[in-house]
Amino acid sequence: MIVRISAEGQYDLADSLHERLNDLDDAVVAAVEAADEAAFHAAFEELLRFVRSEGRRHDGDDLAESDFILPPADLSFQEAGEDFTGEGLIPEPA
């Protein structure tokens, strides 16, 4: 699957990582819904770190659409309130 971190680029991740990604996404949602700013920053950074470390940069010549698009790394807590709600950005694996 291809995951994009906005304003950063696309990463190729193994499909098997979907569940782990979903868990990390849910953790961000939980922090946002709990209005816990510190927890949000920690969880969001964890999510991005996971994508960067587990994924490989997607080839620039390939014109592929992302499966998931994550917000930019400098997302503020206020902005997060608009994105990370409900099931978050990564849905449950089918």
Binding site: A7, G60, L63, F68, I69, L70, D83, G88, P91
Partner: protein
């Protein structure tokens, strides 16, 4: 899928399918898309130029403030050397304000630097994708029938469309930050215009409004500390109390 990712993908797909519905000639659609992509690239370049301009402006402000800090420090020493402790205190308070502004400006210059770097990377990425699209569109035009071409356009355009939307988002964020910093730089200019960092010799004897604000703004204990340190230095440096022999070399280290 809720959230920004979902919204963004949906918007792009809607735009592309609309474009394809209208298209009678796929080849024309492809060329049109390519032109639009080149236009976006121009906008990105312009955005980068704006960020660079904002950065230069802040750097100039920062240099001016550095000069003010040095000048105010010197003035404080002179005032103290002449036994005018009150004037020295005012100078140090102003120096304090100038230093705080300076720190904040330097931080913003660093931030703009990062924005510039990010945008430049985005621009390169976008350029690469557009180039890939150009190659692909020629292949599609040459090899596929009109019906097949529609499908291929959709595939290629979605990928490059997402990239363009993403670079657009990066641009928007950079522009917002640049605006904030421009406002900040303007505020510093206003402070300067109001005489906050001006030559002390231009000061009247009484306390003006800015002086009162400065008392609130600046950290009093920091000024007190600096004042006593300066006094000690002056005492050690010139037993005769002659202001001509002030040790002036310490300013840089304190700033």
């Amino acid at each position: 899928m809720p959230g920004m990712g979902g919204r963004m993908s949906t918007v792009i797909k809607a735009k592309i399918s609309k474009l394809l519905d209208r298209a009678e000639d796929p080849a024309e659609t492809l060329d049109y898309s390519y032109q639009r992509q080149l236009e976006s690239l121009q906008n990105v370049k312009k955005g980068i130029a704006d960020v660079v301009t904002a950065k230069k402006r802040l750097q100039m402000q920062s240099q001016k403030l550095e000069q003010s800090v040095v000048k105010l420090d010197t003035q404080a020493r002179q005032a103290l050397g002449q036994g005018n402790e009150e004037l020295a205190r005012v100078a140090l308070e102003r120096k304090n304000v100038a230093q705080t502004e300076l720190q904040s400006l330097d931080q913003q210059v660093t931030e703009l630097e990062a924005q510039q770097q990010k945008l430049t990377e985005s621009e390169q990425r976008l350029r690469q994708k557009i180039e890939a699209f150009r190659t692909k569109k020629e292949v599609i035009k040459a090899q596929y029938s009109a019906a097949e071409a529609q499908v291929r356009i959709s595939e290629a355009a979605t990928g490059v469309g997402e990239e363009m939307a993403d670079v657009g988002l990066a641009m928007q964020r950079a522009t917002d930050k640049t605006e904030q910093m421009r406002a900040r730089a303007d505020a510093v200019s206003e402070l300067e215009a109001a005489g906050t960092f001006e030559d002390l010799t231009a000061l009247g004897s009484g306390q003006d409004d800015i002086d009162r604000q400065l008392h609130q703004l600046s950290s009093q204990s920091q000024v007190d500390d600096e004042l006593s340190r300066m006094k000690a230095e002056l005492g050690a440096g010139s037993g005769s109390g002659d202001p001509g022999q002030l040790p002036a070399g310490e300013e840089g280290k304190q700033a």
